[in-house]
């Protein structure tokens, strides 16, 4: 571990980096173009007119500011689901890690096995059950299924195993603290990096969720951004009455929609990296 650097390695990695950033660069370039230039200029470079701001304005105000509503919905669904999922996982993971009770291993195994269930297998029956409960076309239809994160539970269990030393729990018990008080006042803080990790990954999962809201929601006012963009995109592709101009909205909208998640990952990177370390090593 000396301070020497390898130029060859840096260049090789730079090539790889270009590959990963190229489509995003295209997206940025495309969102600066007018509809006409979008179809008639070279894709990977800017056209003569830079109309990024007018595109943004058009995208955001189109159809009575529906884009901002979709973004707001997405943030709401993602934050509530991710917060709830992280809390359930922290509580459950701690329980599985720190208590011995009948069925511990069996239950945990069942949860892990559930990762393998294909999502489409669940979508239709969930829809039918939700409609019987009157939950279809409400925010709960998106939030409730997103509260279950088997991977999150797995991560939290592994993390809790070592991050919260048994000795500290024991000491707290001797001091007369109740089990839940120990969890909330002692363990929770130690679990923070793990919780942030689960929070971020469920945040991504809900943010990118497409299939579930697609079938659960009928009312465009409740759409998250993915379904909204796909709806615009299918307007552009279904023909009959609408025009290719929508495509420009789809592109600018896509560009705007990826910014918040990227920002969240950049800001919180210290946490999720250490949280993941636990899951990876102890597998």
């Amino acid at each position: 571990m000396t301070g020497r650097r390898s130029n060859a390695l840096t260049i090789a990695m730079a090539v790889l980096l270009i590959y990963f950033l190229l489509p995003l660069f295209w997206l940025f370039v495309a969102s600066t173009k007018t509809v006409g230039d979008l179809f008639s200029s070279f894709g990977l470079w800017f056209a003569h007119d830079i109309s990024l701001f007018s595109n943004i304005k058009q995208t955001v105000t189109n159809d009575g500011w529906v884009f901002t509503r979709w973004m707001g919905n997405t943030v709401f669904y993602a934050v509530v689901s991710a917060g709830g999922a992280a809390f359930l996982c922290a509580l459950g993971g701690y329980g599985f890690a720190k208590y011995r009770f009948r069925g511990n291993a069996a239950m945990f195994g069942a949860v892990l096995g559930a990762i393998m269930v294909p999502t489409t297998a669940l979508a239709i029956p969930t829809y039918l059950l939700f409609s019987k409960a009157g939950l279809v076309n409400t925010p709960l239809a998106i939030i409730l299924p997103s509260l279950v994160s088997p991977f999150g539970l797995y991560l939290m269990r592994i993390y809790a195993q070592d991050a919260v030393p048994d000795g500290i729990i024991e000491a707290a018990r001797i001091d007369g603290a109740g089990e839940f008080r120990i969890f909330f006042q002692v363990a929770l803080r130690m679990l923070a990096p793990g919780i942030v990790t689960v929070l971020l990954f469920t945040l991504v999962a809900t943010w990118n969720n497409y299939f579930l809201p697609l079938i659960m929601l009928n009312n465009p006012d409740l759409y998250p951004i993915t379904v909204g963009l796909a709806a615009w995109s299918s307007q552009a592709s279904a023909g009959g009455g609408t025009t290719g101009a929508v495509l420009s909205l789809v592109i600018t909208g896509s560009f705007l929609s990826v910014l918040p998640l990227i920002a969240a990952f950049l800001l919180l990177q210290r946490y999720w990296q250490s949280g993941l370390a636990a899951g990876g090593v102890k597998a």
Binding site: F39, S131, G240, G241, T243
Partner: protein, 457 residues
């Protein structure tokens, strides 16, 4: 008539069903309906209608027509008691998927819904649509172009929807490209093929047209023009499937010949590559529907002034026939609590002169009423994108040449999906389209049999 029997059995007990079952009385004798039985629908009385239209009511209307609130506002102005909530639940297939799941769940479905012509039998089969005869829909018949009305009428005489807009097919062509290569506007498909080969020889980067590998709608339009009857439904539980008869094979051989030698392309349509191709002059023509001209204007701005419109080339010189691609209707959903108000909404927005004209002039939907197609302020309007040609006039003329007897299958989604994987695939891979037709026929037949239909090939 089996359809009446089914209807009676499932719907007895509800006021709705009573009305529907007795509606045949209004059908005018001689239609072969089971006269004398108790299965005839009774018209809802005017006083019931008046009462319903003055009772405060909330309606939900699913449609993807942009800014349709303007038309709906006219309706609400006339009937202040009725509040209509307009919901865009997706365009075409996504909306149908939602409608189906909502109907299956029994909650969350709208009162009125936009449905494309070709999907009416599919939704009629699953008893998702309300017969509009009891609400006076039959009286509207004469206001509409005959083939559009025929498309909304069921095999038992039911009126499943009110037409909203249509897509009689014509040909948009690049005058500049035709001029450059000395091509005259083709009047027959033979001339079209000759022009295609000439153009391909002169410039391999331009194709005469693009027959999209993803667009079963155009294929059906081509069959329609050629007088082919791919589907007939003699009764509700039987279907006649003829996807690979002589007529179809003629059309198939024609196109697969052109696609194989490269003079016609088969790119998937309505994606960005296709938009770019239109903007950059890859296609010399677009075989499209009456809604196509305005659509193109918005999508290929770079080519303004270069396009013109003409009728579709003909199979027989001197004839003048066309088919239809696209267009929608307004239907009322079976199970609505407000059948009268919903039926009147469907009627009003499509027949009120002001509302119907708004569809044509604000949303640029191609009209289905005889009055609008004769309205000079609509048909004579010159379009600068087409060098000042009054394109609407041309398509209004074409609308009269659409055959009235074309029928859709009661399971369109599956038929289209199978088309993509047989006929569409043969376009893409430049393989034999004729044998793809046989596969299409076989898959569709098997599906129908699996679903319990009596299939007559």
């Amino acid at each position: 008539m089996i359809i009446n029997r089914i209807r009676r059995r499932t719907a007895v007990g509800t006021a709705l069903a009573l009305a529907a079952a007795l509606a045949l009385a209004a059908c005018g004798g001689g239609s072969g309906s089971s006269s004398g039985s108790a299965s005839q629908a009774q018209a809802v009385s005017q006083s019931d209608i008046d009462k319903a239209m003055t009772t405060p009511t909330d309606l939900t209307f699913w449609t993807w027509v942009p800014n349709i609130q303007k038309e709906v506002d006219l309706f609400q102005k006339k009937y202040p008691a009725i509040k209509v909530k307009v919901v865009n639940a997706g365009q075409g297939t996504p909306q149908y998927t939602k409608l189906r799941t909502a109907l299956k769940a029994g909650t969350g479905f709208p009162d009125a819904v936009q449905i494309e012509f070709q999907y009416i039998p599919t939704f009629a089969l699953t008893k998702s649509l309300l017969d509009l005869r009891p609400y006076g829909a039959e009286a509207l018949k004469d206001q509409f172009v005959p083939w559009t009305w025929q498309q909304v009428v069921g095999s038992g005489g039911q009126v499943w929807a009110v037409p909203q807009d249509s897509g009689p097919m014509g040909m948009l062509y690049r005058k500049d490209i035709f001029d450059k290569y000395g091509i005259a506007v083709p009047k027959t498909w033979d001339e079209f093929a000759a022009a295609a080969r000439k153009l391909h020889a002169a410039d391999p980067n331009v194709s005469m047209t693009n027959l999209a590998q993803s667009q079963a709608g155009v294929w059906f339009g081509m069959l329609w023009q050629a007088g082919v009857k791919p589907f007939e439904t003699p009764s509700a539980d039987s279907v006649k499937i003829d996807l690979n008869g002589d007529g179809s094979k003629k059309v198939a051989d024609y196109w697969s010949g052109l696609i194989k030698d490269g003079s016609v392309s088969a790119d998937a349509d309505f994606n960005d590559a296709w938009y770019q191709a239109l903007n950059r002059g890859k296609y010399a023509t677009w075989l499209t529907a009456a809604w196509g001209p305005v659509f193109l204007e918005g999508s290929a701005k770079a080519t303004s002034g270069k396009w013109r419109a003409a009728p579709l080339p003909q199979w027989d010189a001197g004839k003048n026939v066309s088919g239809n691609w696209g267009g929608s209707t307004t239907a009322v959903v079976q199970g609505t609590k407000n059948p009268i108000a919903a039926a009147k909404l469907a009627e009003f927005i499509n027949t009120d002169p002001e509302s119907a004209k708004m569809f044509a002039t604000q949303q640029f939907l191609f009209p289905v009423t005889k009055a609008l197609l004769a309205d000079t302020s609509f048909v004579d309007r010159p379009l600068p994108f087409y060098g000042g040609q009054p394109v609407n006039k041309l398509f209004a003329g074409i609308s009269d040449t659409v055959d009235t007897k074309f029928q859709w299958p009661p399971f369109l989604d599956q038929t289209v999906s199978d088309w993509n994987e047989t006929v569409g695939k043969s376009f893409a891979n430049k393989t034999d389209t004729s044998s793809a037709l046989d596969q299409w026929q076989q898959r569709t037949t098997k599906y129908a049999q699996n679903q319990g239909f009596k299939v007559d090939q």
